[in-house]
């Protein structure tokens, strides 16, 4: 897929575990894993907002477009 989700990088920077982030944003660890692995087909704005709030970052820090 052309859109890469750099969640691992932000989690490492914020020293947060995936389980913790999943609990904060209110999704299952399985869904977070789907997002991290690039298998997700779409992301809701509400989820993106929750992630950015939890990790104190911008959407561009998490989402990257590769040609």
């Amino acid at each position: 897929m052309a859109i890469i989700v750099n969640l691992d990088v932000m989690l490492a920077k914020r020293k947060m575990k995936s389980k913790e982030l999943a609990k904060i944003i209110g999704i299952t660890t399985a869904n977070l894993s789907i997002l991290k692995s690039g298998k997700a087909k779409a992301i809701r704005f509400s989820t993106l907002e929750s992630i950015c709030k939890a990790l104190d970052c911008q959407p561009a820090d998490i989402l990257e477009y590769i040609d």
């Binding site: 999704i27 869904n31 977070l32 789907i34 997002l35 298998k39 997700a40 087909k41 779409a42 992301i43 809701r44 989820t47």
Partner: protein
């Protein structure tokens, strides 16, 4: 309402299955009695000729059925067996609509099987109707035409369901992968 329809389909399945087991079992007993001479329970051979007649007595209810056995019994077995399987898949088809997860691969498989089962009597009745119309001018093929129309109609409806379910599964998968 959906559950009632599923129960009706299940009832038809049990009726056809019981009829099949009854006819199959007693025709085998009659065949064995005629050929081996052993006295089989509930069965009495009435005439010993090429197309022998057998009488079956059901205990407790004191019902008596007479069968005229010939090789056409094989067609009766196949017909009863086919419609037992047909009503079983029909029951499974209706059960899909009572389950919580509608758009699954399992549901699509059951729908596709039911669609294919509708094609079998359609083709057979079409061949029989054509045979009757070309070879037996005095005979009418009304029954076959009615079966063709019924199975054609059901087949078309189920085909449309299969198409809708394929799109539904795609949408379901997309929805499941939307975080």
């Amino acid at each position: 309402m959906k559950r009632i329809i599923a129960i009706c389909a299940q009832a038809f399945f049990y009726v056809f299955s019981i009829c099949f087991i009854f006819v199959f079992l007693f025709s085998i007993l009659a065949f064995v009695e005629k050929n081996t001479g052993f006295d089989m329970p509930f069965v009495t051979i009435l005439e010993a000729n090429a197309n022998f007649n057998a009488q079956v007595t059901i205990p407790f209810v004191n019902a008596v059925f007479s069968f005229n056995f010939s090789y056409t019994i094989l067609f009766m077995w196949l017909w009863l067996l086919f419609y037992s399987i047909y009503f079983y898949t029909l029951k499974e088809f209706f059960k899909i609509f009572t389950s919580s997860d509608l758009f699954t691969d399992e549901s699509l498989r059951k729908l596709t099987l039911f669609f294919r089962l509708n094609l079998i009597p359609l083709v057979i009745n079409l061949l029989v109707a054509l045979y009757i119309s070309f070879t037996q001018k005095d005979e009418s093929s009304e029954e076959e035409i009615i079966m063709i129309v019924i199975h054609c109609f059901i087949g078309i409806i189920v085909y449309l369901y299969v198409d809708v379910f394929k799109k539904g599964i795609q949408l379901q998968e997309e929805n499941n992968l939307t975080i």
